[in-house]
């Protein structure tokens, strides 16, 4: 840790136009705090509700599905560890999330996202309604609708990336783009 160059880290963030980032256990409490920061920061954005909504889905994906877990005493449950960042360029905002997943899930997740990315808005709407009708997966806290909702709210393709970390894990990155509005 003593060798860690914090200025280098700061500069790297700055050079990549990162305006806000969090790495750690994404608890409900953290989600609420970052969420209200975003709402304050982007009050002028027409799409603030959509931006907020995508942020919630990305964060709760990490919370519920990250393969790296940390015990939260306050919430008396294991919460997922990951990274969330916001970057701002001239015409676009990006919200990105990253977390470990089990490698055996990679194909399934890629398949889901590819399917969603092949759909237009009308097809996404129908697919959302169809998936919402399916029974809850056992023990899951999510509805399995997050990726579809993200694609609908952002109006753009869902960019993703998988990097093999070891035999059992990959690092899963999602990147969602928003066009800046008035």
């Amino acid at each position: 840790m003593i060798d860690f160059d914090l200025y280098d880290y700061y500069k790297n963030n700055k050079d990549n136009n990162i305006i806000l980032s969090f790495k750690g256990a994404v608890s409900q409490e953290i989600l609420v705090e970052i969420g209200s920061m975003i709402r304050n920061k982007f009050t002028m954005q027409r799409d603030i509700k959509k931006i907020f909504s995508v942020f919630v889905e990305l964060s709760q994906n990490i919370m519920h599905y990250s393969a790296e877990r940390e015990y939260s005493q306050k919430e008396n449950t294991n919460v997922g560890v990951g990274i969330i960042l916001f970057s701002e360029l001239q015409d676009y905002f990006y919200i990105s999330s990253g977390n470990l997943i089990e490698r055996k899930l990679v194909d399934r997740i890629e398949g889901k996202i590819e399917k969603i990315n092949s759909m237009n808005q009308e097809e996404l709407k129908e697919y959302y309604q169809e998936q919402r009708r399916l029974p809850q997966e056992d023990g899951s806290k999510g509805a399995g609708l997050g990726f579809i909702d993200i694609a609908r709210k952002s109006g753009n393709k869902v960019n993703y990336d998988m990097t093999k970390i070891d035999d059992d894990h990959s690092f899963f990155v999602l990147k969602v783009k928003f066009k800046k509005g008035e």
């Binding site: 919630v56 889905e57 709407k125 609708l145 909702d149």
Partner: protein
């Protein structure tokens, strides 16, 4: 009276189920850590009290400001309970409110009521 009243919090909506007046209301923001668990309390209340008061007129109003995808699924499950009550001859009406110009909440209401046979309205405020 067996009412269900829950105060709103940062990530949970308020709930006001008043058995005597038959006015049932849920509103606010909804993105709890575990939406299924939160809404189960509401679903259990409805399953128990609608059937037990078959001749009573109920009016259910959603006044949502924001909800995440897992809440969305739980809301659909509530609508299923209301629809079933209607089909069994119960007296129930549904109102879906959206803040003026909030197209997302308006559209989600329109999607929710697709296929419902119970009397329903989508209203702005």
């Amino acid at each position: 009276m067996n009412n269900l009243i829950i105060e709103k919090s940062k990530t949970k909506p308020y709930v006001n189920f008043d058995l005597e007046s038959g006015i049932l209301e849920v509103g606010g923001e909804s993105y709890p850590e575990n939406a299924i668990e939160f809404y189960k309390t509401l679903q259990d209340w409805l399953n128990e009290n609608l059937i037990a008061n078959k001749d009573k007129e109920f009016e259910f109003s959603f006044k949502m400001v924001y909800f995440n995808t897992s809440s969305s699924k739980a809301i659909l499950d509530i609508l299923d309970i209301l629809e079933k009550h209607h089909k069994n001859g119960g007296k129930i009406k549904l109102n879906w409110y959206y803040e003026e110009d909030d197209e997302d909440i308006q559209e989600s209401g329109e999607e929710f009521v697709e296929g419902l046979t119970l009397p329903h309205k989508i209203l702005s405020y």
